[in-house]
């Protein structure tokens, strides 16, 4: 198959995946004058299941790197003011984002716009089949419209999301070693919804799922649920809808549309990132970057940019790309893993909304109830055996002011 593939021209860098991390990476490379190709397996612009609520840090990155976001690239309402945590004790905790509201992105167009702004060549509907490191270059075999194409590049970047083909090529069998989660969002017409439309709502509730959220989009209400892969999410969703009606007075029409994705939650939680081998590096959610409450856009943008900067450095000085990337990416690892680090949460305020200040607004007895609720929410996660790793990593962070690179693949 590979030997009969049509040969395509040589690039300095090929990025696999036409999403935010790929666009950010491409931006750094193209600005520095390196020939860059992005391979995207879907036709562009392509749909992407996502809440679209980008963190303020991600919003600033878009603005400062790609320019003002176009109208097509946002949903209605255009902005989101903050996050509300809801607890089983029926206490709720609204937290405004620092620096004001942020954008509610339509990933279909925002990602495409960012790709175009990056200036890289894009080959859409091009599916990666294999990637092979030849030592001084990397050979990529891809398929488009039934035809095989062979590409060659100095470096290849895996920026193709949690279920990454590049990661599977570089680390065969890796996908069997980590837990997987399924996240689905269901779209409803609203009958009545007392939830504050300006906020993203998240339920810290062990009986509703690992990841349960709701917010307004285009005059409808999204209800989202996340569970371990293999669970019946439709049943879980029905339970959440009933809960919302019973406890919050949210009345919705039956869902007419649903969409889901598979996710690798937890790698940033336990500092188990995957950064690649040889001339192939991994970035974005493929590498394990995911902020708390599963906002992956801002760390995808930043880690993608860092991957681009490391590649520029390697190309300019003939440095080891792995060495450079792993040193540079440590700042983003800190930002991302700090969000899950219990010591940082208590003493550091690592999030873009002030959790501790919101907690302090409650009475002492309510605070105790909230902490009890959070503890009960964490219990179902126990089966993944992350507790000890989280504490160990948090202690390491305190002692060496970094997360141990030895845990990265």
């Amino acid at each position: 198959m590979a030997t009969s593939a049509r040969y395509h021209s040589h690039y300095d860098v090929i990025i696999v995946g036409g999403s935010f991390s790929g666009a950010a990476c491409a931006k750094r490379l193209v600005d520095s004058g390196y020939s860059t190709l992005i391979l995207e397996h879907k036709k562009l612009p392509r749909h992407k299941p996502c809440s679209g609520i980008v963190s303020p840090r991600g919003h600033r990155f878009l603005l400062e790197n790609f320019g003002p976001v176009p109208d097509e690239a946002v949903h209605s309402p255009k902005t989101c003011r903050g996050v509300v945590f809801h607890y089983p004790s029926m206490l709720s905790m609204p937290m405004d984002f620092h620096y004001g509201p942020t954008l509610h992105l339509n990933r279909k167009y925002s990602d495409h716009w960012a790709l175009l702004q990056s200036g890289a060549d894009v080959h859409e509907r091009t599916h990666l089949e294999s990637v092979e490191d030849k030592g001084t270059s990397v050979e990529v075999i891809a398929r488009t419209e039934g035809e095989h194409i062979r590409y060659r590049a100095r470096y290849v970047m895996g920026a193709d999301g949690p279920n990454s083909t590049v990661v599977r090529s570089v680390y065969p069998g890796y996908e069997k070693t980590i837990p997987w989660f399924k996240v689905k969002q269901y779209f409803h017409e609203r009958i009545d919804c007392p939830l504050d439309d300006d906020y993203f709502h998240f339920w810290v509730h062990p009986d509703l799922g690992f990841y349960t959220w709701s917010h307004l989009r285009n005059e409808g209400q999204i209800v989202g649920v996340g569970y371990g892969a293999g669970d019946d999410l439709n049943k879980r969703h029905e339970r959440v809808v009933s809960y919302l009606e019973e406890k919050h007075g949210v009345r919705l029409k039956p869902t007419e549309k649903r969409e889901g994705s598979i996710n690798n939650f937890g790698l940033s939680l336990i500092n188990r990132y995957v950064f690649g081998k040889g001339n192939i590096i991994i970035t974005g959610q493929a590498a394990g970057f995911l902020n708390i409450i599963a906002e992956g856009m801002s760390c995808a943008l930043h880690s993608g940019a860092i991957a681009g900067e490391a590649t520029v450095d390697a190309l300019r000085y003939n440095n080891s790309i792995q060495d450079t990337y792993r040193k540079m990416i440590s700042s983003e690892v800190k930002r991302c893993s700090d969000q899950w680090n219990p010591f940082k949460i208590i003493f550091g305020n690592p999030h873009e909304a002030d959790f501790m200040a919101a907690l302090k607004r409650h009475s002492r007895s309510d605070r105790r109830r909230i902490i009890r609720d959070i503890w009960s929410f964490l219990r179902p996660w126990g089966k993944y055996g992350w507790g000890r790793q989280i504490v160990t990593q948090a202690v390491f962070r305190r002692l060496i002011d970094a997360y141990a690179p030895s845990r990265w693949l």
Binding site: G33, V74, I306, M328, E332
Partner: protein, 512 residues
Amino acid sequence: MSYKTDGSKHIGKDSLIGIPRQQTNPSRWSGKGWDAFVGELGSSGIDVVTEPSKLSLYRSDAGGVATGSCHGVVIARSSEMIADIMRAAQKHRIPVTVKGGGLTTEGESVAFGGLQLDMRGMSKVINIDREDLTVRTEAGIYWHSLAESLRRYGMDYLSAPLNMTSSVGGTLGVGGIDVNSPRLGCSADQAVALKVVTPRGDIVECSEEDNRDLFELVLLGYGQFGIITEATLRIRPFTPITMHYFYYSSLREAMEDLKMLTREDAADYLGILTMLDRAINLLVAFDSDEREKMFFSNWRNKIRGHGEMGFAVRTAAHYLLRPWKLREALYLLDRKRTLLPALSPSHHIASGKIVDRSVVFSRAVWRFWGGRQMVIPDLATSEDKFVDAILKGNEVCKKYFDHYTLYCVGIKLHGKLPRYELSCIPPDAQDFAYGCEFEPMLEGKTYSRDYLQSFKNEIYDIGVEMGTSYYRFGGMMKGYIRRVFGDELVDRYLKMKEKADPSMILNRDVIF
């Protein structure tokens, strides 16, 4: 599918309240019209270098953080050649980025596409006038080359930037500050007359008497209103200098003494260099024995700095009581062992006097700060705000880096000159401004741009909060220009820029 965005606004207008841009990452220019432009230059006999191996020399600046790539390079040879280039560039709308020594740190001299104009091809000294005490030189010359030429005639420059591999033209465009500046002002203030190629391609001679508006716009103008091709600068007879150091362990005391000595014109050269905030070195130097004597009779007793031995004893006592800071103490010892001899190299000292300050203050010292990357955020303040701003900046340095240096000087102002308006000179400064560079010792470590940028932002945010200015506010940091100077002033300059440079091609993305 294409997207339309209105550059003057962004959706979610209420978003990111209180946090306007912190960083600018210009996009690479598309290349539209490049071939026609190169063809037109070719017909005028101007060669454009386009070989990738040669262009790769221009990918970054001294900062080493911003990287870009031009479409081609022209080595500047004459004002007439540059005028031809600018006329063609206006016609074809080709970005032109000018580079001299490339000592910018925020990518100001990095071309993100378009033409890179290398001024180092214009580096001849044209005339040295020992009676008028002026030198006429091409603007692409490095300061140390100029100093060497002047020495042959027993002359010397007045004030030059600390790193003398800067070019004269680039320095006049941003300021140029060193330990002479408390007495003489910035290098730009030593300019008597300039030959400038305007963005439209006119060659104009300007000075305080002729074409004064252009003269004031080009000096400290960040390369927005013209390319300086020749400059007439004030010079003076050469004198060896005597240097003394006084050591402090309190930043506040050292800064207060620096201010007092600056205000009272107590020395010919004054500055502060620190090792962390533990060993603060007040440098005092003199052109004549008389000035030195006056200092020791009138001011030595007023300052609180110690001699080397007194400071060593105090510092040893400090660390003996704090054994957990052993690593810091060892770092200071090592730094002292390597840095101080560089400030007094025996081969540049005769009879206890420094005979080549250009080497001592620049090349010999710079290797202790420079590296593959240099990150030097700064604050430029009025006298009242100086100490507080530096103390706040010092805390930011500690938060981000194990080792760092602060470099502080006063800058004498020559009245309320128009050139100071949109520059590093803060609007509330009277008679003197003060500058401090916060320079981490990167020591070969590799940091992400995001980490370095966060550090710079925290320093610059102090400036926004306190209403100061900056020396390095262009390029990647240009988001701060409107935050510091306000829309009214920036828009006024933008209108002038649009008039002078209709295609907005000269050094784009530096200020506007």
